[in-house]
């Protein structure tokens, strides 16, 4: 009896003792989703938040774009390395000498997912839908570059024949522009320009009103390299390789699984648990430890965005350019980036990120503390004396707070200027921005396409995104002329002029240019650093 009693005990002890060992060596681990995906060419991608919609006409966000680029293909698509426009549904195109008329030749083997050909009429119908006022598409104004589109969208005419989009036959599409625009082809890769299968939309609801359920997996028709198979909100979106896509032979991934994870920390844990090939973001607090311990999975790519502070130039003291410039010149951006942010950001001395489609601003709004003190004195506030109470408004976020505190310290130390910090929930802050109920406001701008105009247009006098109250006729004229200039050097000269005017007047303080910090498994290949963080999926593959 005693003997037989001892045996199981020792066996049990061995088992218990070996448990941590087993676990540590991975014997109890299941095959991770990443390993599984590497074998079957299934990419598991975090996209940050739940997409609001997969209807290209009704989306505005980044996550939506990242899914839609798998499902749909526009006339042109993007080069995987530098995103320059390359043939998509259109195999080639011609531009008239005055830069106003583009003729696109659609490939005859471009297909919808049900096998029907993608025709020029599909594109015309699609442009018509997004421009129809009843659809209330948020980004309809992106198509205003088409001749007559603005008038149609604003209801001045109901005759779509007046709009510069004509199907010459099944495979030839003619687009006429309001003015020459060298960035026109780059625009075409954005969701508002993607073809929507208008002819079959009536099956699931009204064609020109919101609330149509055509984008559900059961009813969607798309024309991109992948087809929507599953869409469980807040969980997963599954896109599988499309057999009807014209270039299917060159698509190497079999499927992409998109994960809408709105918590950066949860996403990072999923990445570490082997559920994701790549995350949408990485927690700022962990960048340093990733740099130290697992640099191979940390990626820091430049990103087409600028973080800046706006002044309300309608109210004293910021109606005085000297006060604005004084505050701008007292900011040490290098210290901000290297000591506070630590995510590889580049200090911003201009609004437009350097190297945006070959343009880098020559004018600079840098650091010059002596000049800043002089300016403040000249404005009647020596060492900050006599200034009214000043306030920086930012939307509630840990990052915005530490940046505001850093600037608060710099202004106090270098200029003797005291500012208080106020945080508000995001939409409340946006409402204050609209009503001009702020003095200094935290802001940012993310470019929509690779061209300096996507930044500089923001501060045109009539821009709905300006909010500073600052307007300058020369600035507006330079941008107006640039929009109508096709030659690159001449356009860039006009941008230089505009940017110099903006930085001299300083209705804003550019602080830093964005980087995209995320986690990436080394098995993901073809994921090039691109300024817009676009990664044409047909050039991506996985290695074991």
């Amino acid at each position: 009896m005693r003997f037989s009693f001892r045996r199981p005990t020792s066996l049990l002890r061995i088992l218990i003792a070996s448990l941590p060992l087993l676990a540590a060596t991975g014997c109890l681990k299941r095959e991770s989703q990443v390993q599984n995906g590497n074998r079957d060419q299934i990419l598991h991608r975090g996209i940050g938040y739940e997409v609001t919609e997969l209807d290209p006409h009704l989306v505005t966000g980044i996550a939506e774009g990242n899914v839609l680029r798998a499902l749909f293909e526009g006339l042109v698509t993007e080069d995987p390395v530098d995103l320059h426009p390359v043939p998509g549904v259109a195999e080639r195109w011609e531009m008239s000498p005055d830069g106003l008329v583009y003729t696109f030749y659609l490939r005859t083997n471009a297909r919808w997912s049900d096998g029907a050909p993608v025709t020029a009429a599909d594109f015309v119908a699609s442009f018509r839908r997004i421009l129809t006022p009843t659809l209330a598409a948020d980004y309809a104004n992106m198509l205003y570059i088409l001749q007559g589109a603005e008038a149609f969208h604003k209801g001045a005419t109901t005759d779509f024949g007046q709009v510069g989009a004509v199907a010459l036959d099944d495979h030839r599409l003619r687009l006429t522009l309001e003015h020459p625009a060298s960035y026109f082809l780059a625009l075409l890769t954005n969701p508002p320009w993607l073809p929507v299968p208008v002819s079959s939309l009536a099956k699931t609801g009204e064609v020109y009103v919101r609330g149509n359920t055509w984008t559900r997996p059961a009813s969607i028709r798309s024309n991109g390299p992948f087809n929507l198979k599953k869409w469980q909100t807040h969980q997963i979106i599954v896109a599988e390789k499309s057999p009807t896509y014209w270039d299917a032979a060159n698509v190497r991934l079999n499927a992409i699984h998109f994960y809408p994870i709105d918590s950066v920390d949860a996403e990072e844990r999923m990445f570490r648990a082997g559920q994701l090939h790549l995350s949408e973001a990485a927690p700022v607090s962990k960048i340093d430890s990733y740099r130290r311990d697992s640099a191979a999975v940390l990626r820091i790519d430049p990103y087409l965005g600028t973080y800046f502070y706006r002044f309300n130039t309608r109210k004293p003291p910021f109606n005085d350019v000297r006060v604005r410039r004084a505050l701008a010149l007292a900011v040490d951006r290098e210290a901000l980036v290297s000591k506070v942010l630590r995510g590889g950001q580049r200090p911003a001395f201009a609004l437009t990120p350097p190297g945006t489609a070959g343009y880098t601003a020559q004018a600079k709004l840098g650091t010059d503390v002596t000049a800043a003190r002089e300016l403040l004195k000249a404005a009647g506030f020596p060492a900050g004396k006599g200034l009214p109470p000043l306030e920086v408004l930012y939307n509630t976020s840990e990052n915005h707070r530490i940046i505001a505190e850093a600037l608060q310290g710099m202004w106090r130390q270098e200029l003797g200027v005291e500012v208080s910090l106020v945080n508000q929930e995001q939409k409340v802050a946006q409402a204050a921005r609209r009503t001009g109920d702020y003095q200094i406001l935290r802001s940012d701008w993310i470019g929509d396409y690779l061209d300096a105009s996507t930044f500089l247009e923001v501060f045109r006098g009539d821009s709905g995104n300006n909010y500073t109250g600052w307007a300058n006729a020369d600035y507006d004229a330079a941008l107006f002329a640039a929009a109508r200039t096709t030659e690159a050097a001449a356009r860039h000269a006009l941008f230089q002029k505009a940017e110099a005017i903006l930085l001299e007047a300083a209705p804003i303080i550019p602080l830093y240019h964005y980087t995209h910090v995320f986690l990436l498994q080394p098995s993901v290949k073809g994921w090039n650093p691109t300024l817009l963080d676009h990664h044409p999926y047909k050039h991506v593959w996985l290695e074991k």
Binding site: L58, G211, S263, R269, A273, Q275, Q426
Partner: protein, 306 residues
């Protein structure tokens, strides 16, 4: 009994109506709207959007319209998700929260009542102290600490579970455990208190005197009275647990109604805010009514009178 229930139902309906009215107007007076965004829409597009959602009408008209469609069971379209209705979102998310809540609640009851009973029966012994310690830990350590710690151990290091998500049966284990733990702690404290009170009463002494076994005394006689405080706690707790826990749903990225409830307010998704508030308020009222009825059944001292 019937009179009691009818009058309580009428009171609840009135309260619900007041909640709806207050929410409708309060969310409208919050700065910012569903269409305020970092990149502004043009004035024409804003007008189109407002026309589509009826926001161009006077507020009182919108309020009456809303009540009208509500009477037909239509909670309206979501502002944030342009091709989805609030009914659809709620129907999609509530079952997930209910499943998580049900599992967590089952676990919490078994653990909480078990620990509490043992603690009461073996009062002031090491068993009581152990149970109380577990209870105190459960109350004082928040779920947003326990959750990530368990993920770190069981998902990242051991690789037994997914770190988050709601894809298969295994994904239910960690969130239900963490959420259940948070509720087990107060349940065990309440059970212990309730049992201690009951175990000293005459009818228990009578039961013992009749020769009933200790097990029988506890389970058949004492528990019914001892659980009364737990039952009144469970009313609002069940409503909370079934409509989702924002924290747990965020840590484990569970597609439940709790996140929609919180995020709809940030998004100024007016109709979704109202829909989730109505759901939550309705559930709390129903469950409180149910609790009152159950308490009357469990404790003859309570009389059901309006």
């Amino acid at each position: 009994m019937l009179r009691f229930i009818t009058s309580r139902l009428l009171q609840s309906l009135l309260a619900l109506f007041l909640v709806i009215t207050a929410t409708f107007f309060m969310i409208r007076f919050v700065p910012g709207g569903p269409f305020t965004a970092e990149k502004a829409v043009t004035p024409e597009i804003l007008r189109n959007l407002e026309a589509h959602y009826g926001l161009d009408k006077p507020l009182w008209r919108q309020y009456l319209d809303y009540l009208g469609s509500l009477a037909r069971g239509d909670l309206g379209p979501s502002f944030k998700y342009p091709n989805r209705t609030v009914n659809e979102i709620i129907a999609d998310k509530v079952p997930v929260s209910a499943e998580l809540g049900g599992l967590a609640l089952g676990f919490a009851l078994v653990l909480g009542v078990g620990l509490g009973t043992v603690a009461a029966v073996r009062r002031n012994t090491w068993m009581d102290y152990t149970a109380s310690t577990i209870g105190m830990f459960g109350i004082s350590i928040p779920t947003f600490v326990v959750g990530p710690l368990l993920v770190l151990g069981f998902a990242i290091h051991l690789g037994w579970f997914n770190a988050s998500g709601w894809y298969g049966p295994l994904d239910r284990v960690l969130p239900a455990f963490v959420l259940g733990l948070a509720y087990a702690a107060p349940i065990s404290r309440l059970t212990r208190g309730g049992m201690l009170e009951v175990l000293h009463q005459d009818f228990i002494r009578t039961a013992r005197a009749k020769g009933a076994s200790e097990f029988r005394v506890v389970t058949r006689h004492a528990l019914r009275g001892g659980l009364l405080p737990v039952v009144s706690f469970l009313g609002p707790a069940v409503a909370g647990i079934l409509t989702g826990s924002f924290v747990i749903e965020t840590i484990f990225q569970i597609p439940g109604i709790g996140r929609e409830f919180v995020n709809s307010a940030f998004n100024r998704d007016y109709t979704l805010v109202l829909g989730t508030v109505i759901l939550y308020a309705g559930l709390i009222m129903t469950l409180n009514l149910v609790v009152d009825i159950i308490q009357a059944w469990m404790n003859p001292k309570v009389r059901l009178e309006g």
